[in-house]
């Protein structure tokens, strides 16, 4: 479980996150929604230690993550699939996955088999350079590379960005299945609110760095004001 309390993050004089508090429960999907510049990506980058908070606490179960180095946070079992996927184009599919498995000290061949079963297309392209994959395949690779380390928490930053609706639906279904079949905690940052709310258990809406809604996904989805003013979902 990830617990965030009173988190404030600044870029110089600009406050990207203002007193943000939320709980991402174990085995559940927490969607973080909001427009561009709402602070969604900054939230994930702060959890992963890429950005230092000004004030506030971030805890993984009982362990504080604030002031820890990014690589140490990753080794605690927090997988982060960054915006733009972050696959290494010069590496083959298998090299990307090997890199993901290395730090977690998992059985490599079993881990590869599991990921190729979850994403069969990656198995077919295991020797291909990641730069030659399609957008959807790269997203699958980025997720597989995070999952192969058996994380307890998965941070997903805009996984649907630039993907066709059908591919987005497949990815969302995969994320949902992962949570149902394991204790994986997912924090899903999305601009595509409709897709995210469909699979999330809980939703947090950010607006210029502040939490404007923090409730179950179904209640957030049903709130007309939120839909209209913050999520851009006009009927």
């Amino acid at each position: 479980m990830i617990t965030i309390e009173g988190l404030t993050v600044s870029f110089g004089a600009v406050q990207a996150l203002r007193n943000v508090s939320l709980v991402a429960e174990t085995g559940k999907i927490t969607a973080v929604l909001g427009a561009n510049g709402a602070g969604k990506t900054t939230l994930l980058r702060t959890i992963s230690g890429l950005k230092e908070p000004k004030t506030g606490t971030i805890r993984l179960d009982d362990q504080s993550l604030v002031h820890k180095r990014t690589e140490d946070i990753a080794r605690l079992g927090i997988g982060h699939v960054p915006e733009g996927r972050g696959v290494i184009g010069e590496f083959t599919v298998e090299e990307n996955l090997r890199l993901g498995a290395m730090m977690a000290k998992v059985n490599l061949s079993r881990g590869l088999d599991e990921q190729y079963e979850l994403f069969p297309v990656l198995g077919e392209r295991r020797k291909q350079h990641a730069a030659k994959l399609s957008g959807g395949e790269r997203q699958m690779l980025a997720m597989a590379r995070a999952l192969i380390a058996k994380p307890s928490v998965l941070l997903l930053d805009e996984p649907s960005l630039g993907l066709a609706p059908l591919v987005t639906a497949q990815l969302m279904h995969t994320i949902q299945s992962l949570c149902e079949t394991s204790d994986l905690t997912v924090i899903l940052v999305e601009q595509n609110a409709t897709s995210a709310l469909r699979i999330a258990h809980h939703a947090v809406v950010l607006h210029v760095g502040k939490v404007v809604a923090n409730d179950t996904a179904s209640l957030v989805a049903a709130d007309e004001n939120l839909r209209q003013y913050y999520l851009g979902l006009v009927e």
């Binding site: 972050g86 290494i88 890199l99 290395m102 730090m103 977690a104 380390a149």
Partner: protein, 299 residues
Amino acid sequence: MDPFLTSRIVTDVLGGLTNGVTYGLVALSLVLIWRSTGILNFAQGAMPMFATYVGFALLSYHFGYWPCVVACVIAALLIGGLTERLLVRRLYGKPEINPIVVMVGFLIVLEAVAAAIWSSTPRSLPSPFSSIHWQLAGKPFALSPFIVYEFATALVVMAAVAVLFRFTNLGLQLRASALAPEVSRLLGVRVGRLLTLGWMLSTVVGVITTILVSANFFSGLTPTVMDGIFAYGFIAAAIGGLESPVGAIVAGVLLGVVNQFVTDYVNQNAVIIIALAILIVSLMIRPSGVFTKSALRRV
């Protein structure tokens, strides 16, 4: 015996290859640092020079060649690591000119300190193999036991670097840290340590080159022994492509052969002019380097 083996052309090719492997090793060490940190290390000749002086100081205590070589490698590991930690780490993310100025300054400081401690007088290094050229049918042949040792050492170093980067987990992490440091951190890779390791490895490649150069070129070890070799290594790295270890080695070897032919058939003084002309032409045709696949170059 076939007179072809002692002919002028074979002599020039073998002589060129001998020089070329050292240019290739210097170019390789430059590429190792460029790929991992985006810094052109102008002290890449001076750092190994200093480590060589430190290692061969053991001669005064009656140690032999091989213990001195081991001491040189240890000194290179320390100098490379400390340079990255104490000097270079402060330069990451700064304007491009900053690391260039700092590393040129570091080169000058190292050469001055080495001259102050050990003097500028050439210091002859022992050699485990004879440098006297073999004779074929009474004619001098371009190879000597030391040159064969030099080739073998260069090949072993190049092969070791290739195996490290291509087939080991450490190599995969080194490459990942260079290509995508932030993503690597997100995957738990300790990027800072790997950058230090990259500088250490590069300095080790440099010190092996310096030991070979100082013994083979009959000039002995001086504080400026690597200046000329560094210039050709730098040209080779730029021609081959700063992103390409294979390109650096191939360009270095070819440059050595061209230089030898220019020396023999034109003039010793024309060597640097021809080398720079090749550099200019190759950069006009392939600005990213002949062996760099992508048209994009990290700057």
